[in-house]
């Protein structure tokens, strides 16, 4: 991984995500406390923190997999509220990759990739399949196109999940612990795919503990704890000169192992 490749976004790039004063509760438990965050187009952000810190919930609030109770979320100029039209428009902009892949097990790899383009984007089947094959090639999995997800390894499944999200031509990609459910030897192939995506200038928000990935491609690393953003900084500063004690403790724990 070439660390110099990480910083290519122009400083004046426009804002694509704006979060202001975001609060969310699960019952009485407050998972997100007054989160504010601004992301510029092409920016690559890694979010880390102990489990239960609200990092997954934060990115799930961006495409309404979770509903927030107060605060503002604006994605690509569209305000996220109860309007189904807005939710639909925002979901059209955002691709998501999950910890457990969530491929559709009853559909082949190719069908997984063409389902949404055909039914949501109303693309002709042939166009959708051509696009799907292009992205499957990109994640190096074309020879498995007609297999079912259950026949693939975890790493292959996650790469298919990335291709499936890319087929919808999203402007933003969310990664929710994409390598946590993988066997160690498969982590690399998924990370390589993500790095190549990052090099192409995709706006990315990744919840991950892969600090090597953060060092290689992140423009900004965010540390969350107890529902708050505790610290955010470019990786070279984040890893060596973290200001908060909590961040340093967390880094000690995960970097020592």
């Amino acid at each position: 991984m070439d660390p110099t490749a990480a910083h290519v976004i122009p400083p004046n790039a426009e804002e694509i995500i704006r979060i202001e004063g975001l609060n969310k509760w699960f019952g009485d438990f407050q998972v997100l406390r007054n989160i504010s965050l601004s992301v510029r187009r092409g920016e690559r952000i890694v979010i880390c923190g102990p489990s239960g810190s609200g990092k997954s919930t934060l990115i799930r609030c961006l495409n309404r997999l979770e509903t927030h109770q107060s605060g503002t979320v604006i994605v690509d100029g569209i305000r996220l509220n109860d309007s189904l039209k807005n939710i639909e428009a925002i979901r059209n902009d955002i691709g998501m990759v999950f910890q457990h892949f969530n491929l559709f097990p009853h559909l082949t790899v190719l069908e997984n990739c063409t389902l949404a383009p055909i039914w949501v984007r109303k693309q002709p089947r042939a166009t959708a399949e051509a696009t799907a094959m292009k992205f499957l090639e990109r994640v190096r999995i074309t020879d498995q196109a007609h297999k079912y997800p259950g026949q693939l390894s975890g790493g292959q499944q996650q790469r298919v999940a990335i291709a499936r999200a890319l087929c919808m031509a999203p402007r933003i990609m969310l990664f929710d612990e994409p390598t946590s459910a993988l066997d160690p030897e498969m982590v690399k192939e998924v990370l390589e795919t993500m790095v190549s995506l990052a090099r192409d200038g995709m706006t990315m928000l990744c919840v991950t503990h892969e600090m090597g990935f953060a060092r290689a491609v992140a423009d900004r690393v965010i540390f969350m704890d107890e529902g708050e953003i505790v610290e955010q900084a470019p990786p070279e500063i984040f890893f060596s000169q973290a200001r908060s004690e909590r961040t340093r403790q967390f880094l000690d724990q995960i970097l020592d192992h």
Binding site: N63, R64, L65, E88, R91, N92, I94, G95, M96, F98, H100, F101, N102, L103, F104, P105, H106, L115, A116, W119, V120, Y148, P149, G150, Q151, R164, A165, M168
Partner: protein, 363 residues
């Protein structure tokens, strides 16, 4: 490591081992085995002696049977009465129409069980043309003598009530299951009320309502065919059960499937039809077949609203004949055999279906 040696021993030796281990491991165990064996032999041999060895086979008159009454089965009653048993009070000269309808109906079912027909339009064409043909054969008109539904009976009635009773209940049941999980309070409440209300009462009462009470609510002069009313009652009744089975299937799916569909921007109906239901319905195949077999046998309850299904036709064929009326046991055994044949075929098909659809190698 070598595999266990038993795998290479001849079958007879392995069987002996199995017997020793499982049936004769202790003296008490051996005693129980012997007693059970003796009971089975005793019961089995007297049945075989009655049903096979001393039975009257083929066509024979009542006197032959009477001479052997109590010692041998009188299968002659089936040979004599089979038409009445299968087709009830349908006019004698027209019973070929009933028979043809049953054959066509079974053919539709077998064809739609085959992969080559699993396309919406093919299935629709098959069922529409087949059902219309059967309806024409049974009801008459257009060159055939009309036969009112009050005279229909036997196997065609049982098959029709069971198959359409499930076919139409299925979409309704799916809607109810989705309704019960809906985020809209009114839809959810309505589905729950319907399901709990219908599941809480016996089929007999629903049939009774459809047959007698329903007519009271209609304006004078308006009436629906009694058979149709019973059919609708069975559909509505089965829908509640199917809904609960489908709901179990929906709940078995991981939340990630819904989330992935949401994240891709699929709408509610797209998610249900393309992602959720194909998986949920597959999981529920064993339960659905179970419920269909139940429903198939439950159709025999329609007799309480004077619809003459197969079981009643069998009973009536024997009982109503003064000569043969003592031989209802043989009649019921015949009915059992026919019911068993259908149910066993269904069960077998469901196993094939499960295996066939498990291509996704779900982890």
């Amino acid at each position: 490591m070598h595999p266990p040696a038993t795998a290479h021993r001849p079958f007879a030796a392995r069987s002996l081992d199995w017997l020793r281990e499982n049936l004769f491991s202790t003296p008490a165990n051996a005693l129980i085995t012997l007693i059970t064996l003796a009971l089975l032999l005793w019961a089995g041999s007297s049945f075989v002696s009655w049903a096979v060895l001393h039975a009257v086979w083929g066509r024979a008159d009542v006197a032959t049977c009477n001479a052997l009454f109590g010692q041998g089965a009188c299968w002659a009653v089936i040979a004599d009465k089979w038409r009445h048993m299968l087709f009830g009070i349908y006019p004698q000269g027209e019973q070929w129409r009933s028979a043809l309808a049953v054959v066509i109906f079974c053919a539709i079912i077998v064809l739609s069980a085959m992969r080559a027909f699993w396309h919406v339009w093919r299935l629709l064409a098959l069922w529409l043309s087949g059902s219309l043909l059967c309806a024409w054969l049974l009801a008459g008109g257009f060159a055939l003598t009309p036969v009112p539904t009050a005279l229909w009976g036997g196997l065609p009635i049982t098959l029709m009530l069971a198959v359409f009773g499930t076919l139409f209940a299925f979409p309704l049941g799916i809607l109810l299951a989705l309704g019960r999980r809906s985020a809209l309070p009114i839809v959810r409440a309505a589905s729950i009320v319907y399901i709990e209300l219908v599941r809480g009462v016996p089929l007999i009462t629903v049939l009774f309502m459809a047959s007698i009470m329903f007519a009271l609510f209609l304006p004078e002069g308006v009436s629906f065919d009694k058979l149709l009313r019973a059919q609708v009652a069975i559909v509505l009744f089965n829908a509640a059960y199917i809904a609960e089975i489908v709901r179990a299937g929906l709940q078995a799916l991981p939340r990630g499937q819904y989330e992935a569909a949401d994240a891709l921007g699929l709408g509610y109906w797209q998610t249900q039809l393309l992602v959720i239901l194909p998986q949920a319905l597959k999981i529920t195949i064993p339960a659905q077949v179970n419920s269909f077999i139940d429903n198939f046998k439950d159709t025999s309850l329609v007799i309480i609203v004077s619809i003459f299904d197969f079981l009643y036709a069998v009973r009536q064929a024997v009982i109503s004949d003064l000569d043969w009326r003592h031989y209802f046991v043989e009649g019921y055994l015949f009915a059992m055999a026919v019911y068993w044949l259908f149910c066993y075929a269904m069960s077998h098909y469901s196993q094939w279906l499960e295996k066939h659809l498990s291509r996704d190698h779900r982890l």
